[in-house]
């Protein structure tokens, strides 16, 4: 599969990795990168992640068969509105945002019926930020969730399914935007909040003794604040629901510690061990 022209909006860690992955695998004749900051665009060009760089959204997406928005979630609807009139007829539009309900609703509401949007979320990333940390194999072996609504065009889903697989993605799964948001609230947004609270509540004097356990548990708390602010804003309902459930579990643990219930403690730890060990 070869696209004539792929436009990537946002040339940070994700956008840059997309560019590198596409170029490594020769999936496009031309990769256009569109960035807010001229310095990011320059870095992406120097890194070889894109062939052409610009700040101009309309110019950047003109003539592209595939356009991917790889920016923090809250800017995706604004960008979609800004480029809607410049997309080529038949263009496939997708994103790489971490929440889907609000994004998919807004984007579907603003693009022309002659262009085709499918939401994508590659479950891959890093706490690092910027094109300097971009990696041509970031998506290899990962899972991509794509969204399907009544407005989703089957042929666009097929195109994107092939696109993601061509980047080395191991599994492409189709969910509704709502299902997607529920799943990621549990496996991504909750762990992030938990890590953030761990770091922010820790005594600075104790942190100097942090060993591998603390470091692993809190690694993701070093991620881009803008990305995570947007995630919390656009997935509020599911995040709050999943936080409530987590809190109930933590309170239960606290209660059995308070009561010194050795057997129940053992069972809780044995349960988490058996579940965690199955995750490789």
């Amino acid at each position: 599969m070869i696209f004539k022209r792929i436009a990537i909006i946002g040339v940070g860690l994700i956008g840059g990795s997309l560019g590198l992955a596409v170029k490594k695998r020769n999936l496009a004749r031309v990769v256009v990168g569109i960035g807010r900051r001229p310095s990011s665009v320059r870095k992406a060009l120097r890194r070889g992640a894109i062939d052409i760089g610009t700040k101009d959204l309309a110019k950047g997406v003109a003539g592209a068969d595939l356009v991917i928005i790889a920016t923090p979630v809250c800017s995706i609807p604004k960008i979609a509105r800004a480029i809607a009139g410049s997309l080529k007829e038949g263009a496939v539009l997708t994103d790489a945002g971490s929440t889907k309900g609000e994004v998919v609703r807004s984007v579907e509401g603003c693009i022309s019926p002659k262009t085709f949007f499918v939401g994508s979320h590659p479950l891959a990333g890093s706490e690092k930020r910027g094109v300097l940390f971009a990696d041509e194999d970031l998506f290899r072996g990962s899972v991509v969730i794509m969204t399907k609504t009544k407005k989703t065009k089957g042929s666009a889903v097929k195109t994107l399914d092939r696109f993601w697989r061509s980047l080395g993605v191991a599994r492409v799964v189709i969910k509704s935007p709502e299902e997607h948001d529920r799943i990621v609230a549990e496996i991504s947004h909750l762990p992030h909040l938990v890590a953030t609270a761990l770091i922010n509540s820790a005594d600075k004097k104790s942190i100097e003794f942090a060993a591998a356990g603390f470091k692993d548990t809190t690694r993701i708390a070093a991620s881009d604040p803008e990305v995570w602010r947007d995630i919390c804003i656009t997935n509020k309902k599911e995040i709050l629901r999943t936080l409530d459930r987590y809190e109930r579990h933590l309170l239960r643990l606290k209660a059995i510690i308070k009561k010194g219930r050795a057997e129940e403690l053992y069972k809780e730890f044995a349960k988490s061990k058996s579940i965690r060990e199955k995750l490789r």
Copy 2:
């Protein structure tokens, strides 16, 4: 520094790694390993972590200059009582337990004034269990907290300081048992409970989508349940205190998500990013 005879009680991950580290660096003429289960003792012998293996505590510690108890915390006092009469005059006794208040109090209360106990806690480990995962470099670059009380003998502290450093430990710090327990509650026990609650509260259908973030955050939840049961039992007060503080932070995060306060969210994430990035 060479000991004539080092006895290690408990030949699992920690005891086995101690044996391998001592033997690699030639710190003892003989390493005796004492285990509950004959099969563990056999494995430790086969792994080359010990020279002599036995199930018999009294026999095992007889004649040893240095005795290290490397078992789950709750068995340390029982073992100390069982070996107190068999320790050689002048022997140095230590442990590798993750909590110190109760342990140090009980052990100091039962050994003879002619033998010298200093509590040790090497802040190194793994979620793995058993001598098969033992590693001669497990302690290299790590921190060891040793405890000091009114009863602690300075010369024994010096001997153990040199011992740990000889294993490649980067830093040996002396704290009171109470300070130790407060620090590890924050940087080790709390993250463990948080990871356990994350795993145990997660929907099984969502877990299949877990990516690197979830996996790192919950890695420690696969640890030995017996070890963690004992830690919660013996460090209840500090764990509950630190859990309370963490909960307050999490509730604050939840409140600003509920209210959709973008700027405050950004600040929370920026704060955790800046603290976490300093931890290398």
